[in-house]
Amino acid sequence: MQAVRVPRPATVPSRSATPAWSRDLLVFLAFITPNVVSLCVFSYWPMLRNLWLSFTYWDMIAPEPLWIGLDNWIEVLTSATFWTVLRNTLVFTVGSVVITIMIALGLSLLLNQKRRGRNLVRAAMFAPAILPGSAIALVWTFLLAPYYGLISQGATALGMPMTRWQNDPFWAMPTVILVVIWKSTGYDAVIFLAGLQGIPRELYEAARVDGANAWQRFVNVTVPGLSPVAFFLTVTSILSSFQAFDVIRVMTGGGPVYATTTLIYQVYSEAFVGFNAGRAATYATILFGLMLAITVVQIRMVEKRVTYE
């Protein structure tokens, strides 16, 4: 001990020789530990637990899950329900994401012009994005109510037959998609708008000077300038559409007969309606795998773009 203490004064100038990080290490650990522990307990551990549970049968009442190997996976992947649910998820995602992005792009082009009232429109369009999905689902359930709902009255006035939009096996999915589009278009438009405003004005000037007309300027300046934003929006919208739950829960409850049951909805209903933890975990793992695949593709494409530039 003493031998260590004695040379201490001599090492004072060499304070920089003991790496700076050893002093910072404690601070570093203190600063990151709460967050790392939270993420481990409520993000990483649950994924491992999902994977493990997917090899078990458990009604969440029995004291222990029962190991059944690959039974859940075989049962799920060979069931008609899984393929219906997967198709619903893809229809819901493609429908809501593609249409939302198209409308949002058009809207952002309008909002980018110096027109009177554009700030009002921007705020009004954005508002649904910050409201609870359940409240918006209720608003639309009221608008779509058969006979006395505003939309049904309009449809009748146009000579359409009376439709129970949310309870109709064909219309339920388009209805849910439409509500999600209504909710998210303003958000996407605002992000497109920021992208538009980030395109240097000189590019437009240059194109104009070179004799490009409005359409050519759109194709040659706006589209390439917006493509990073469009890519970002597409990926984040796909991921968030996989997580869309509240609108479906309130408007259709996944029905009629699985017509609007998406993967996330199936996870919920297997776990908290059917009390089949093993099957819910199997669906959750599949959903996670799908989202991971999309994220990896995104990262790959971003890397490619960076290296090409």
């Binding site: 601070v27 359940s134 608008l143 009255q153 209504w182």
Partner: protein, 301 residues
């Protein structure tokens, strides 16, 4: 740039001969463009406005008016009684308190986690730092929705079902916030932080007196984003609560609807407005900042 300015005179010159015709064409095109633009903006306003208006007047209609076809666009005798009826049909006072508590505590803890963590990754040189940062970023790929069942099991085993703690606990880790703040911290001028270090300031002092004051707009954006997400959260509060008195507002109005159903729309719509109104009020105040913050965050990130 130079080539552009050189090219311009020669290209514009020949065109200027047929100037009158072009300008009249241009004028007509401008008018058509303006008309189309206002038509589009007007349509957007109508598509958002009509449902909103319809819900507001719906909440002021009596049952008889709601189920009468064709509907009136203005209730002759506004049925204000729908609001007290809604307030009595569900424990709104309690649900408001739950929503406020959960949003405040969860947002605060998440932000504290994100701030300290982001500071550590931005300013503390520690070997293996990047590896740990990748680990935190990895959590971005695990959405709450996928972890809902195991988290329910964890929270249930801790005895926190139907409690505010249970509502908050799984939401306090921050992957996005850490990433978002670290990006911003790295953009701050290093000299300022170095100067504070030389003056003998500790990390907590630097964080509190130097870094945070320089980060106010970014923090405000992150707080708003987090708070809105927490306030609107649906799946987790739905799963982890079974008592009326423990519900948050978004789940509470869903149960108000399942309870009153389509026979008491006036009450359900009044309840919906009770839930939406404060958010809209807040939105009107912070609208500019929120919209611009989200836009700049998305485009830069």
């Amino acid at each position: 740039m130079n080539s552009v300015t050189f090219a311009s005179p020669s290209r514009i010159a020949p065109k200027s001969t047929d100037l009158p015709r072009t300008t009249s064409h241009l004028w007509a095109a401008r008018l058509a463009g303006a008309l189309a633009a206002y038509l589009g903006l007007g349509l957007a306003l109508v598509i958002v406005g009509i449902p909103t208006y319809w819900v507001i007047i719906g909440a002021l209609k009596t049952n008889r008016e709601i189920y009468t076809v064709p509907s009136t666009w203005w209730p002759p005798n506004p049925a204000w009684s729908n609001f007290p009826a809604a307030w009595a049909a569900a424990p709104f006072t309690r649900m408001y308190l739950n929503s406020i508590t959960v949003t405040l505590v969860s947002t605060t803890l998440k932000l504290v986690n994100a701030t300290f963590c982001a500071y550590a990754f931005a300013y503390l040189q520690v070997p293996g730092r990047n590896l740990i940062f990748m680990f935190i970023l990895g959590a971005l790929m695990i959405p709450e929705e996928v972890t809902v069942l195991p988290n329910y099991l964890t929270v249930a085993s801790l005895g926190y079902v139907n409690s505010v703690t249970g509502l908050i606990l799984p939401t306090i880790g921050s992957a996005f916030g850490t990433f978002f703040l670290r990006q911003h911290f790295l953009s701050l001028p290093r000299e300022v932080i170095e100067a504070a270090r030389v003056d003998g300031a500790g990390h907590l002092q630097i964080l509190w007196h130097v870094v945070l004051p320089l980060s106010r707009p970014v923090l405000a954006t992150l707080i708003l984003l987090t708070a809105v997400a927490r306030w609107n959260d649906f799946l987790w509060p739905l799963v982890v609560t079974s008592k009326d008195t423990m519900r948050t507002l978004p789940v509470g109005i869903f149960f108000l609807f399942t309870q009153e159903g389509t026979t008491e729309w006036g009450v359900v719509l009044a309840g919906t407005i009770i839930v939406i109104a404060p958010i809209i009020a807040l939105f009107i105040v912070v609208q500019r900042h929120l919209v611009e913050g989200i836009a700049s965050g998305a485009v830069k990130g």
